[in-house]
């Protein structure tokens, strides 16, 4: 029996390329939780995320021979997942839909600034209904455009540096930086609106 635990993603992937059994299962199991969370955040619902999850690993399977094993596996996996999620969102958004129950915010002309110190983001150990918080986070993320959502999720889920994100997404470093700034600002504002309307509803 292969001792997968002591092996890196890249080593397991190489084992899969050598046709070693259960190597691919190990890769799927190893990234199951993180990738499913990432995709749920990206596409907004669990069922769609599971579909994209399967498509992602199918794509990896099909493209296995093209992967440069000297590179890291996880960023490749997440980049493919992000591409698949983007495709899915594109199909889904061919007809633009907006939830009527989405919170309304007065629009302000031109760029506006947000100060994070004024935003109340609860700490993970704050006494709060986890399911409610989860739902609110998703609502707040749903308000962001796909490009902002993607850069935010890729960064936080993989703890990537700006340079790594730029490389993975194939966009200039400056663009990554400004997108990330905008994404955090947008999420903070969106979070404010969502949590406020939830408080009012209570």
């Amino acid at each position: 029996m292969s001792d997968w635990q002591s092996q890196s993603d890249e080593q397991v992937f190489e084992a899969f390329l050598r046709d070693e059994p259960d190597a691919y299962r190990e890769l799927i199991e190893r990234h199951h939780d993180d990738l499913l969370r990432f995709l749920t955040r990206m596409v907004g619902d669990r069922a769609a995320a599971e579909d994209v999850f399967q498509e992602t690993f199918l794509q990896i399977h099909i493209s296995a021979a093209t992967f440069d094993t000297s590179r890291r596996f996880r960023p490749w996996l997440f980049t493919i997942a992000a591409n698949k999620a983007r495709d899915m969102l594109r199909k889904k958004n061919r007809r633009k839909t907006v939830e009527l129950s989405a919170p309304i915010r007065k629009s302000e002309p031109g760029a506006s600034f947000i100060d994070l110190l004024e935003v109340d983001v609860p700490s993970p150990d704050a006494a709060m209904d986890l399911a409610l918080r989860d739902e609110q986070v998703q609502q707040a993320l749903d308000q962001l455009g796909p490009a902002l959502r993607e850069v935010l999720l890729l960064a936080y889920f993989q703890r990537l540096s700006y340079a790594q994100i730029a490389e993975d997404l194939g966009i200039p470093l400056g663009t990554v930086k400004s997108r990330m700034h905008s994404a955090v600002a947008a999420f903070a504002r969106s979070w404010q609106v969502v949590s406020k309307s939830s408080d009012q509803a209570d």
Binding site: Q54, G110, I114, D142, L152
Partner: protein, 417 residues
């Protein structure tokens, strides 16, 4: 209801739908005004107007609370505001301090402590945003890991099957010989090149997916063994109290076939045929099992080899009994060779996975893959210990060629490098 209240202009499909309630003409008139050309101009003038608006507000109570005046409604304006709210977030900018804090936080490997002290409170906010995003996404439902993993492997398998079916030219009758012969030859040559590249890759991909499914079968079998033992005084499946002259006559009677012991799992509905059918075995029996069946019909249908049961059977757990005993494995190549009258190769791997190795289910429920049938203590899972000892003795007596041997006379054929 007065004549004026009667609905006026119904389409035929609406007329058929007699169960749907219908609005009065007055209510429809109010709706027409609400959603008319100039919704902005709508003003509540009557109790009916008020009632219709209240009903509409029920559909979207947050809107009503926000506007705080149910006397006017402009859905288009509200919709536009919401569209805008979902698109203009990109115009927002972080303050300069927040930008610095975020940049440092990311560049310092997402460690708040490594950010400049005067920016740490802002970096902390950035960290919390990340934690809330990664957070607990449907934690409760994420625990269905094995289900999604299995479905993913099945999706891959289905894709591979589709690809192979597409490549199966022999099954295609759609080739119309309408082009020139030379064109067809060129196309055929091109397809052959593509197939020669793709087939080895597909083959590797396929066998890997099959191994994954086989691994799932081992888990299913482990569950089935557990269920069976739970309701049969902790005994492992047995179809007969003991064997007759042989245990390898599959499809005959339980007294002559060890596989009928394994088939007991199916007969007692603790497993189904698919659970015990390795995807790599083209002859594996699948589908609905015959309710009267006691065994697979032939050796070729059997995908897994089950521990030979001693007379009286064996307990799943017993004091002093070792737990790392092989209970089930991919089918034995030795038995296949013996059944077809060919000499055995003791170290051969199961044919289930192209001779690359075999899955084994242990008595403690653990599953493992080995690339050799020799497991701990030099125990060959295909053979009983006495035969292993004989083979060992024969080999040690025969020794190996040292390079000093000569033919035993002119009639002894003996060649070397």
């Amino acid at each position: 209801m007065s004549n004026q209240d009667q609905p006026q202009d119904h389409s035929p499909s609406e007329e058929k739908n007699v169960n749907l309630p219908e609005l009065s003409a007055q209510d429809r008139a109010v709706l027409d005004r609400v959603f008319g050309d100039d919704p902005e101009a709508f003003v509540v003038e009557s109790d009916r107007d008020d009632a219709v608006l209240n009903l509409l507000n029920l559909l979207d109570s947050p809107v009503a609370s926000e506007l705080q005046r149910p006397s006017r409604i402009n859905l288009i304006q509200i919709l536009a505001a919401r569209l805008e709210s979902s698109t203009d977030l990109g115009n927002l900018q972080l303050s300069q301090e927040d930008q610095q804090a975020l940049d440092q936080y990311i560049n310092q490997g997402y460690e708040v402590d490594r950010v400049d002290p005067d920016l740490q409170s802002r970096a902390e906010k950035c960290a919390r945003i990340g934690e809330s995003i990664i957070g607990s996404t449907s934690v409760s439902s994420i625990n269905t890991s094995s289900d999604l993993v299995s479905r993913t492997l099945s999706t891959i398998q289905a894709h591979i099957d589709q690809e192979e079916a597409a490549m199966d030219f022999s099954n295609s009758n759609q080739w119309a010989l309408s082009g020139r012969w030379a064109d067809l030859v060129s196309i055929a040559a091109m397809l052959l090149i593509v197939a020669s590249i793709a087939l080895p890759i597909m083959s590797g991909v396929r066998s890997n997916a099959q191994q994954g499914l086989c691994f799932d079968n081992m888990h299913a079998a482990a569950n089935a063994f557990g269920l069976y033992a739970g309701s049969n005084r902790d005994m492992l499946p047995m179809a007969t109290a003991g064997f007759g002259p042989t245990w390898m006559d599959v499809g005959s009677t339980p007294e002559r076939s060890n596989s009928s012991n394994l088939f007991t799992l199916i007969r007692t509905h603790n497993a189904n045929l698919e659970d015990l059918a390795c995807p790599s075995n083209p002859n594996a029996a699948v589908g609905q099992a015959d309710p009267d069946a006691w065994d697979w019909r032939s050796l070729q249908e059997v995908s897994y080899s089950y521990r030979i049961m001693p007379p009286g059977g064996m307990r799943a757990t017993a004091a002093g009994q070792p737990v790392r005993v092989v209970l089930l494995a991919d089918r034995s190549p030795v038995i296949l060779r013996v059944a077809s009258g060919r000499p055995i190769i003791p170290e051969e791997n199961s044919p289930n996975h192209k001779g690359k190795g075999q899955h084994m289910l242990m008595l403690d429920g653990g599953t493992q893959w080995t690339t050799s049938p020799i497991i701990n203590s030099q125990d060959n899972i295909w053979l009983p210990r006495p035969i292993e000892q004989v083979i060992h003795q024969v080999r040690s007596k025969l020794g190996i060629i040292t390079g000093t041997e000569l033919p035993d006379g002119p009639t002894d054929a003996f060649v070397g490098p």
